[in-house]
């Protein structure tokens, strides 16, 4: 039975892709949830953690835990951030540390959006309509750390007018990888090109994912290549109701 859910929109959505956060809120409200947005929220700490700065990551993680410690559900429009909280907080807070138990308590309450919809809310049809051919990019942490493969596809298949066409290398990394993308731009860009070749091979107009960071990488590479294909977060597709121009 729907109730109240907290949302953690992630720092990148807050600052760069607010429309994704709004779309997520809209979808959740549409199926009956009340949204709790805590203004204390900022980042999960992943940038520092992935860069080897554990102490700094721990401080930010602690802030995250304090912000959401009494929430029953925290829904996140990102597999990567959800995995940081659910898995890597234990690397940040090893068993002997003070925050370990808190991390253990909060971890299972944090849900990536597509998982939350299909497993907690138990809906696949959220009443969306999107008349386009789309292809789905499996983001790495969602796929390999959270084992999210089918949930977003099940949701997409229920969208009216939408055709899902799989690309040949859906599971290959887009090349983002956080600071990797600016530490090794040539390699990161090369990985994106492999991916967009595969996207183009499907003839889809839109590439969908559940992580805005991957989409930022892919959109940047698509635009640089002069491609007409655009990127959309799953939440945006699920929020759509009108035929797209």
């Amino acid at each position: 039975m729907p109730g109240r859910v907290s949302i953690f929109v992630t720092c990148i959505v807050d600052q760069v892709f607010p429309r994704v956060g709004l779309a997520m809120a809209e979808v959740l409200e549409r199926i009956g949830y009340t949204i709790d947005f805590r203004e204390q929220q900022t980042c999960c700490g992943q940038p520092a953690f992935n860069s080897g700065y554990r102490a700094e990551a721990a401080q930010v993680a602690e802030h995250f835990i304090r912000t959401f410690r009494d929430a029953d559900f925290v829904v996140v429009p990102s597999g990567s951030c959800a995995s940081m909280i659910g898995h890597h907080y234990f690397d940040v807070f090893p068993p002997e540390s003070a925050m370990h138990e808190e991390a253990q308590y909060l971890g299972p309450r944090v849900w990536e959006l597509s998982r939350f919809l299909t497993e907690v809310a138990k809906v696949e049809d959220v009443g969306a309509k999107f008349e386009q051919t789309v292809t789905y990019h499996d983001s790495c942490h969602a796929l390999r750390e959270l084992h999210i493969k089918e949930a977003p596809r099940r949701l997409l298949r229920k969208v009216r007018g939408l055709t899902l066409k799989e690309m040949s290398v859906a599971e290959e990394c887009c090349g983002f990888g956080g600071t990797f993308s600016i530490k090794f731009p040539e390699v990161s860009g090369g990985m994106a090109r492999t991916k967009i070749d595969s996207i183009h091979g499907t003839g889809a107009s839109t590439v969908v994912s559940i992580d805005s960071s991957c989409l930022m990488q892919l959109q940047g590479a698509l635009s640089r290549a002069g491609s007409k294909v655009r990127t959309m977060h799953l939440a945006e597709v699920l929020a759509s109701r009108e035929p797209q121009s």
């Binding site: 080897g52 554990r54 700094e56 530490k183 090369g190």
Partner: protein, 467 residues
């Protein structure tokens, strides 16, 4: 960026080299797809991985016991175990034997451990010719290049490249057909097998309870290397030990499948010592050189010890999008790809090539295919932490450290974070904004995203007020 200019240029060149990219991408794709097919047909695949990882863990935790057992069994069969602390000691032993027996030529079957200690070079410095007999290794030797890939040393070469290498290296005509090329190599190498006084091999597994070593291969050259010459010397790392012969059932099911997508390799040889009276073939002398060369240091680090689980199948290379872009020659040491990225810093010290653990998007494709379940992304993250710790101690990362301290502080002060975000959004509109700092790096290969003119939190507040 902690990386030499030279290395950076090499990486840029590799990424821009379409021919190389195509060769590597298709060779690794083939191996990757074949592996995928055969593991999907093996219902117990995941259990086998778990079992293999547990066996490796047990063997490494009791390494001294199993190594002693292995040695005792080798001696009982009439062979000899030689303990080598490093490449000097291993090469020293081989040179002594060669000198005593008057050997001028050795044949070698594929061995990454001998690459690790530059054995060929050391032998040649002492006037001993070392001939690689694995086709891929032979091509690389003629091309004067180290192996490009753990199991497919010349996978970056097209058949036209190979024809050219044979023409130059052997001073003879050679066409573009792989069969023809293999035939030519076989003819040349046959002479070498007959002439060589010593055969040097590696080992895939050392079986403690039977004092035998196991070698898998597809060309039959390892079989010849280990039986035709009068002396066989296997050079291998101490971590290759497994407790019992019956454990091979687990590892052999995983190794060929992970490496080449075969159910089993064409040849699987279990070698247990010198020729005994009545044997039809086999060497007169049999030595196993057990190398440490830094392995005991890895063993001491419980957190990353599982790095020694590796059975060198190469599956992680084929799965790795970074390896597939930069190729096998842009890793600082003998071992390339994800496994190279985690063991090189452990063998050489993290500050030697501090960029290496960062050259990954942490996609996890490596760990997904590793037959012995090495958690490569986790080890990369731990190594990043170690790099930062050592650089902080040496005060060589002040700016970066400040940046992350600043980040952490800002993220704990939501109002200031929001304000900084808005200032950033205004700053991003400045004409030069995309030409400096990280935005410029990003913009080298992609269009730079613009921060939204209104953040989520600002829009949310308005939305709530309107309701």
């Amino acid at each position: 960026m902690m990386m030499t200019r030279e290395r950076l240029v090499q990486i840029q060149n590799a990424v821009a080299d379409t021919k190389l990219q195509n060769a590597v991408y298709s060779a690794t794709a083939r191996l990757k797809e074949k592996r995928q097919e055969v593991v999907e047909e093996l219902p117990e695949y995941q259990e086998l991985r778990t079992h293999a990882a547990a066996l490796k863990k047990h063997a490494l935790e009791n390494l001294d016991h199993y190594l002693e057992q292995f040695e005792a069994n080798v001696i009982a069969h009439g062979g000899k175990v030689v303990w080598a602390r490093d490449g000097d000691e291993a090469a020293g032993f081989i040179l002594d034997i060669a000198r005593q027996r008057g050997v001028k030529m050795v044949v070698k079957s594929k061995s990454m451990v001998t690459e690790e200690i530059h054995l060929n070079q050391r032998l040649e410095e002492h006037g001993i010719e070392a001939v690689e007999t694995d086709l891929g290794e032979y091509i690389q030797q003629l091309a004067k290049e180290p192996p490009f890939h753990i199991i497919a040393p010349a996978c970056h070469k097209t058949r036209q490249d190979i024809a050219e290498i044979f023409r130059k290296g052997l001073n003879t005509e050679c066409g573009d057909e792989p069969e023809q090329q293999a035939g030519l190599a076989r003819r040349v190498l046959r002479e070498k097998f007959l002439e060589a006084g010593i055969g040097i091999s590696g080992a895939n597994f050392l079986v403690a309870d039977s004092g035998a070593l196991l070698i898998v291969e597809n060309e039959g050259n390892a079989r010849l290397c280990t039986t035709a010459p009068k002396i066989h010397i296997a050079v291998t790392g101490i971590e290759k030990i497994i407790p019992r012969a019956q454990d091979l059932a687990v590892f052999l099911k995983l190794l060929a499948r992970s490496a080449t997508g075969q159910l089993l390799t064409v040849y699987t040889s279990l070698l247990g010592g010198p020729r005994r009276p009545g044997d039809v073939d086999g060497p007169e002398e049999f030595y196993v050189v057990l190398m440490d060369n830094g392995r005991s240091r890895l063993l001491a680090d419980k957190e990353k010890r599982e790095s020694l689980n590796c059975i060198r199948c190469g599956a992680c290379l084929n799965a790795c999008p970074v390896y597939r872009k930069i190729g096998g020659h842009n890793y600082p040491w003998t071992y390339s790809g994800p496994i190279g990225a985690i063991i090189t810093p452990q063998y050489k010290g993290v500050l030697q090539d501090p960029w290496l653990p960062f050259a990954s998007s942490l996609c996890g494709a490596c760990a997904e295919v590793c037959p012995v379940k090495i958690d490569i992304p986790k080890i990369l993250l731990d190594l990043r932490r170690d790099v930062v710790a050592e650089r902080t101690q040496a005060s060589s990362n002040r700016l970066e450290k400040w940046a992350f301290q600043g980040y952490s502080w800002l993220m704990r002060h939501p109002r200031l974070y929001a304000l900084a975000g808005r200032l950033g959004a205004i700053g991003a509109k400045l004409p030069f904004a995309t030409r400096i700092g990280p935005a410029a790096k990003w913009g080298q290969v992609r269009e730079v995203p613009m921060p939204a003119s209104e953040s989520f939190r600002a829009q949310w507040r308005k939305r709530k007020a309107a309701k």
